[in-house]
Point group: C2
Chain length 190, copies 2
């Protein structure tokens, strides 16, 4: 059974994008700074960690809003993923490209289809925040890989919002740091 | 000149206390779990890190609300600190004990007095959240030492709330992990 891995970059103050997200500014104002560890400040270790998540993933899950924002601009009208990606959406987006399967009948259905595709590999939940929270608080996520960028963004899209669930226990599996991020790998206790 | 160090424990989802704080439950519901690294899961390294902040501090700054909540219950009517502590408050609390100086004329005054007391040692900003944010966003904080507990609390008192300031750059100085926390030491770029 495929593991479900949420792998995401967050500022120390909890934001995964800046405010004012548009197709032209898909990470919001200053939000690109979250990904310094993947671009301007990338070290060999950062590259290895990125390679690892890509190689370990047999399927990707992405939110409908993220798809719509990214597909024509940031992703240049084609899938940036080397494996099948599943878009969780309420209704089919008007612009659809190869490499993406659009699922409108809920998370259980997405997980089933992504799991079949991933086989022994992982299902990578790559965001946005709303999808990540649905997966996490719905009990689907087995591991959280979080890359904490050394910035305080102060506003934007928060990953973890208040919710009514009980405390979730995590187990620290691995901690690594590079100049551009502290990389923490957690197992979610169920 | 004394360095101002914010040293605080936060859940991965950004809370430094649970909801429902009272004198009887000073960390709020489930909030005591943040401090597992100081109690039930304490390792030798955790002890060393605690000792370090205590030994390096020449003065402590604490918020008026935290003082009022903690002094009669959690702190058993005496200062838990071995060095002078300064309480930042709008008006003098009715219950006052030795070891605390109560400052009602603002943060600049607190920093000046705490700095004189600390000498070459650090000024430790220990919370609560409101005071920590005032110090941080007011540009007073030189280092953030954050202990990220491996839990999602989901509700309670958030350390970092939205605010209007510009992005703050941090520099990762040191990263350590124990079963009960990932300990990250940042320098605040000014």
């Amino acid at each position: 059974m495929a593991k479900v891995v949420m792998d995401i970059t967050m500022s120390l103050d909890g934001f995964i994008a800046g405010p004012g997200i548009t197709q032209e500014v898909p990470m919001g104002i200053a939000g690109h700074r979250l990904h310094d560890w993947l671009f301007t400040r990338k070290t060999e270790l950062d590259s290895e960690l990125l390679k690892e998540v890509v190689e370990n993933s047999g399927a990707v899950i992405v939110g409908g809003h993220t798809y719509t924002i990214a597909i024509e601009g940031a992703w240049e009208k084609s899938s940036p993923f080397s494996v099948p990606a599943f878009v969780v959406c309420h209704q089919l987006p008007s612009f659809r490209v190869e490499g993406f399967t659009f699922i409108t009948d809920g998370l259980a259905s997405v997980m089933e289809q992504a799991g079949r595709t991933a086989g022994a590999k992982d299902i990578w939940v790559m965001g946005g925040a709303d999808l990540a929270r649905q997966c996490l608080y719905g009990g689907w996520v087995d591991e959280i890989h979080i890359h904490i960028a050394p910035i305080l963004l102060k506003k934007g899209t928060r990953l973890f919002t208040e919710n009514e669930g009980a405390l979730t226990e995590l187990e620290i599996m691995r901690v690594l740091d590079t100049p551009g991020a502290v990389h923490i790998y957690y197992k979610v206790r169920k």
